[in-house]
Every structure is written in structure tokens, then in C-alpha cells.
């Protein structure tokens, strides 16, 4: 965990140093000569060895200082804070929906192989992994927003006056479905194969021989053990989920960090880009930590 943390942050730091321009560019005036610039660099700590700069940068990070946006001049941290909420709502809803649908369909597919449910689940799973989220989004917009007019084409609310839960939900549906399809497809496949493998185990046979009802055998004995690889898969899908959010937010004009990312890339607003990347890094690391905790809860063999 710790080495991964330092590795990731070091990578982000390295990347941010690769971006053209330096923090002092804004401060250099035409009257300055080389020595003045050197003094300025020294004042900013830019002449120190790279690892010292890295730790100082980390330090500033933990104090919330991510620099200022090239585009707006505002502190990066404020721009991120404004946008975190919508992205979190979007990604968490997608995660929950995809897990519920994916795990349920996966279990059903495993218990009734080659049935209608199994075919549906497998079909959905394939579609999810093969159709890019943005294409799904466009088709959904075309069908539901444009042709049928049932749902809005984008944004988080219809206008400033309609901040109701109902209006918000209507705007949330299409983005969530676009993203959830790919994730659910993945979870269906993982759940199905994990369940199939567990269902062949001796303790499942023993549970049946004990006279436990089939539902208990499946959902208590089998699923509990299948959850381990499923949870691993969910944990590993989180980075992908974050990436998917970028494109979906862009298409739907969802005011989250993803669309801010695209905006900043277009404007070459490096501080914001690095700030978002940093934020995502920390979020992913926290997710990994949470996953480790969940494993310990699920599997007593790991607890020692």
C-alpha cells in the first residue's frame, strides 16, 4: 500500500514536471536577467534536487495547495471541490446499480445454465464489454431524448429553478445507464464464473446433504465464497469507472470532474489536470484500502 502510494504520487509528480511551463513563468518580467531568474528559482525551491521538490510538493498537497488554474486563476482545489459532488454521485450510482444488476444476473445465470436468463446475462455481458460507453450514450440520447422525448439530453438540472429530486433523477438516468452497461457486463461475467466454480465445491454438496434449502445453499453458502473474486473484480474496475466518467460527463454536459478534465486538457490547464489526477490517485488508493478491509471481513483465512 505505502510503496504504491509513493509510486503513484511520484508518477503524477513526474508527469506534472513533463508538462511545459514552470510555476515561475508568470513571474518573469522582461527586465530580469539570468541571475535574477536564478534567484527566483532558488526562492521557489526549483533548484533543489528532484526528490526534495517531490516531498515539498507532497507536503503542499496535504495542505490543500494544488496551485492555481491557468484558465481561471482560481485555486485548483476550489475548482475540484465544486465538481467532486456531481462526479461522486454519478460514479457511486453507477457502481451500486451495476453491482446489483451484475451480481444478481450473474447468480441467476450460474444457477440456471443455458436458460433464458443465462443467455440474457451473457448477451448483456458481451454487449457491455464491446460497446463503447460513448456510443451507447449517443444511441440512448438519440432514442430516449430526441426521438421519444422522455428524458433530457444533458445537464444536471433543466434550469436553475428546477432543483428538485425528480428533475435531478431524470437527468441522472441516461448517464448512469450508459456507464452501468459496461460495468454490469463485467460483473455478470465474473459473478457467473465465480459462482459456477464455487457450486462445484464439496461444502456446497455437504450443505445440500445436510438438508439446507437450495436458496440457503446458493445465497448463503455459495455466494459468500464467490464474493471474494467478485469483490476483487469490483475493486479493479474502479479506475475504469473513473475513466468512463470523463467521456460520459462530456457528452451529457454533467458538471463533474470528468468534464472539467476535458475542458482543462483543451485549454492546456496543467495545474487543474494534475490536481484532478492527484485527486483520482488518492481516491483509488482509498478504494484499495477499503477493498483490503472488505477481504478481511469476508474471508476468515486472511485475518491472521
Amino acid at each position: 500500500m505505502i510503496p504504491v502510494f509513493f509510486g503513484m504520487t511520484a508518477l503524477v509528480f513526474f508527469l506534472s514536471n513533463m508538462t511545459p511551463g514552470s510555476p515561475i513563468d508568470a513571474m518573469i518580467t522582461p527586465e530580469m536577467n539570468v541571475e535574477d531568474i536564478a534567484i527566483l528559482e532558488h526562492k521557489m525551491g526549483l533548484d533543489q534536487p528532484i526528490y526534495i521538490q517531490y516531498f515539498k510538493w507532497l507536503g503542499r498537497l496535504f495542505q490543500g495547495d494544488l496551485g492555481n488554474s491557468y484558465r481561471t486563476g482560481q485555486p485548483v482545489i476550489r475548482a475540484i471541490a465544486e465538481r467532486v459532488g456531481p462526479t461522486l454521485i454519478l460514479t457511486l450510482t453507477v457502481l451500486v446499480l451495476a453491482i446489483l444488476v451484475g451480481v444478481f444476473l450473474g447468480v441467476v445465470a450460474a444457477c440456471k445454465p443455458y436458460s433464458f436468463w443465462d443467455t440474457l446475462a451473457s448477451g448483456l455481458s458481451f454487449l457491455g464489454s464491446s460497446m463503447p460507453g460513448f456510443f451507447v450514450a449517443l444511441i440512448l440520447i438519440y432514442v430516449f431524448a430526441v426521438k421519444l422525448g422522455w428524458l433530457p439530453t444533458g445537464g444536471m438540472y433543466t434550469n436553475a429553478n428546477t432543483h428538485s429530486f425528480g428533475d435531478f433523477s431524470k437527468h441522472l438516468i441516461l448517464p448512469v445507464v450508459s456507464m452501468a452497461l459496461a460495468s454490469a457486463g463485467n460483473y455478470i461475467r465474473q459473478t457467473r464464473s465465480a459462482m459456477l466454480e464455487v457450486m462445484g465445491e464439496e461444502y456446497v454438496k455437504m450443505a445440500r446433504a445436510k438438508g439446507m434449502r437450495e436458496q440457503v445453499v446458493l445465497y448463503v453458502h455459495a455466494l459468500r465464497n464467490a464474493m471474494l473474486p467478485i469483490v476483487t473484480c469490483i475493486g479493479m474496475s474502479v479506475p475504469g469507472l473513473v475513466g468512463g466518467a470523463v467521456i460520459i460527463e462530456q457528452i451529457f454536459g454533467w458538471p463533474g470532474m470528468g468534464s472539467l478534465m476535458v475542458l482543462s486538457v483543451t485549454y492546456r490547464d496543467y495545474p487543474v489536470i494534475m490536481g484532478i489526477t492527484m485527486y483520482i490517485t488518492i481516491a483509488v488508493l482509498l478504494t484499495n484500502l477499503a477493498m483490503d478491509f472488505v477481504y478481511a471481513v469476508l474471508d476468515p483465512r486472511i485475518r491472521n
Binding site: E202, Y203, M206, A207, R208, K210, H221
Partner: protein, 333 residues
């Protein structure tokens, strides 16, 4: 000891549909089991013993097998094969219990011993969780587990193989079943532990007067445990009799071969005897006796017609043409 017939199996046939054809894993097996009796079912791997056990519990369908029409399994006079799954679930564990080959994998790794035992006890009795827990503890003591209070709260991976098997035996007997099917209960255990587990089973049989079907490939195990023995080959019973009869005077060439294969301490042997050949491919129809290819005593008739089971003096049954003359009658097949 009462002599009631607890289990009566007649013409049991279980088959699997495979890509290469229909596989009759159990092909017409009949036997009775009386209370207090230990029936040893012996045979090589693949002879259908485990499929038979699963068929009796009506579990084989979940694993791809089908019990054929015309088979009959009567548990205390009640026809099992016609029962619904719901009723069957009530029977399993309560009237008839099973323990399996590998104790380490037969317990769910994510639940404690207590949870798995209490779950079963509460399922089949009216006890509360607390009462069930006490009952589980009682049984753990009864199977001879040291420090049972501690073990109750532990997880399967913290127990040794022998202790796991004791837990499983305790669990299987905790709801007082009349019949216990022990499917290779000692195969995965060390020899010393084997002896302990077998002693335990014998003691428990005496205590609760349950009947045990002891399935194994080990002749030594049945010699010390079983009252009666049924020798299986390729899904059929080829010889049945009391343990004394089978060991003193094995009639079927296969039984003779099995006994000859057991290494002996009192004889000098250069080479261990093994029955030549392999179990035939059962998906293909076999003309005549199914053991023909490996038999060193077969006669002309063996190739043309499959022998029925002959009943001999003393109650021994053999499925072999060699005993056609001395047979008292032909057992109904």
C-alpha cells in the same frame, strides 16, 4: 437389537447423458439395510459407489445425473424417488445423513464450526440457537474433540483433517438420522487417524443404533467394520454376503482379485498382484459379462450373456456364470 429394514434399494439405475453417449453409472443395484447394520460397499474408483450414495439422497440430479424410471428407494417404507424436493430437503440430514471423502473441503471455509452445526440443527429441530449451540457442543464432545468449546468458535482452516472429519461426523449425527452414508470417510486421512475415525463410527453405531453404509475402495476398512459387504463393479453389484463369507470364501473372480491385491505381511511376495486391464468404457454397450475382459476364469457363456445375480446357500449372492449350477435361485433383476 431391532432388525427393522431401514433402507430398501431395488433396481437402482442412474445414468448421465454425455457427449459420447449415455453413461449408466449405476446399473441395477439392489440391497437392504437393517438398523444397526454396517454395509460395506467396495469397489474401484469409477464403479459407481459415490453416484449410488448421491442417488439415494436424491442429490445426483444437481450434478447432472438422472435416476431411471423403475428404480426404487424406500426409506423406512417410504418411497423416496417420488417425493418433492421440499420434502426431500426435510429428510436429508434428519432421516438420512451423509459424510464425504475430503473433510477439509466439506466444511465451508467462511463460517465457523458453530454456525454450520447450529444451522443444520435449527433446520431440523425446534431448538433455539442457544439450545442448538449446546447440542452441537454435546456432539463435539461425543466424537472426542478436545477443547470443544474452543473448537466450536473456530474456522475450518484452523482444524486438522482428522478433527474436521470428527466435526462432520458430529454434524451428520446431530439430528439423529437413522441411516448414515459414509462415502470414503477415511481416504483423505493419515492411517493412524483412519483407525480412530473408524473406531468412532463403530462406537457411535453402537450408541445410537444407526445403520451405516460404508463406501470405500479399501478392503482392510470393510474387514474391520462391516457386517455385510456388497462388491460393486461397473455400476453393478457382483457379489454380496456377510463379511465373513466374502473374506473366507470370495466367489466372484473380481472379489478374489481384490482380495489378492491386498499386500500381506505374512507372505513373501516379489510382485504385488493387480487385476489386469481397466474398467471398460460404459457408454458403449457391452456384450455378456462386464468383467469378462479382465477375468481369468471366464467361460464361453460369459461372452454372450450377462449373468444375473445367483443366490447361494448361506445367503451369499454372486453375479457370475460359474455358480449357475449351485445356485438355489436367481435373484430378481
Amino acid at each position: 437389537m431391532e432388525d427393522t429394514v431401514l433402507l430398501k434399494v431395488d433396481h437402482l439405475r442412474t445414468f448421465f447423458k454425455t457427449k459420447t453417449g449415455v453413461l449408466p453409472a449405476v446399473n441395477g443395484v439392489s440391497f437392504t439395510l437393517k438398523s444397526g447394520e454396517i454395509l460395506g460397499v467396495v469397489g474401484e474408483s469409477g464403479c459407481g459407489k459415490s453416484v449410488m450414495s448421491m442417488s439415494i439422497l436424491k442429490l445426483i440430479e444437481k450434478y447432472g445425473g438422472k435416476v431411471q424410471e423403475g428404480s426404487s428407494i424406500e426409506l423406512q417404507g417410504r418411497q423416496v424417488l417420488g417425493l418433492s424436493e421440499k420434502v426431500m430437503c426435510n429428510l436429508r440430514g434428519k432421516e438420512i445423513a451423509m459424510i464425504s471423502q475430503d473433510p477439509m473441503t466439506s466444511l465451508n471455509p467462511v463460517f465457523t464450526v458453530e454456525y454450520q452445526m447450529v444451522e443444520m440443527i435449527c433446520r431440523h429441530t425446534e431448538m433455539t440457537k442457544k439450545e442448538a449451540s449446546a447440542h452441537a457442543l454435546f456432539w463435539l464432545k461425543k466424537v472426542g474433540i478436545p477443547e470443544p468449546e474452543k473448537r466450536l468458535k473456530e474456522y475450518p482452516h484452523q482444524l486438522s483433517g482428522g478433527m474436521c472429519q470428527r466435526v462432520i461426523i458430529a454434524m451428520a449425527l446431530s439430528c439423529d438420522p437413522k441411516v448414515l452414508i459414509a462415502d470414503e470417510p477415511t481416504t483423505a486421512l493419515d492411517v493412524t487417524v483412519q483407525a480412530q475415525i473408524l473406531d468412532l463410527l463403530r462406537k457411535l453405531r453402537d450408541d445410537v443404533n444407526a445403520a451405516i453404509i460404508l463406501v470405500t475402495h479399501d478392503m482392510g476398512v470393510v474387514a474391520s467394520m462391516a457386517d455385510n459387504i456388497m462388491v460393486m463393479y461397473a455400476g453393478r453389484a457382483v457379489e454380496c454376503g456377510t463379511t465373513h463369507q466374502i473374506f473366507k470364501a470370495p466367489k466372484h473372480p473380481y472379489t478374489q482379485g481384490l482380495l489378492a491385491s491386498v499386500p500381506r505381511m505374512d507372505k513373501q511376495e516379489d510382485k504385488l498382484y493387480a487385476i489386469p486391464g481397466n474398467v471398460p468404457n460404459l457408454t458403449q454397450k457391452i456384450e455378456g459379462c462386464v468383467f469378462r475382459e479382465r477375468c481369468d476364469q471366464c467361460v464361453g457363456k460369459c461372452a454372450k450373456e450377462a449373468p444375473p445375480q445367483f443366490l447361494l446357500d448361506g445367503g451369499q449372492k454372486v453375479r457370475c456364470w460359474l455358480y449357475e449350477q449351485e445356485a438355489k435361485e436367481i435373484c430378481d433383476e
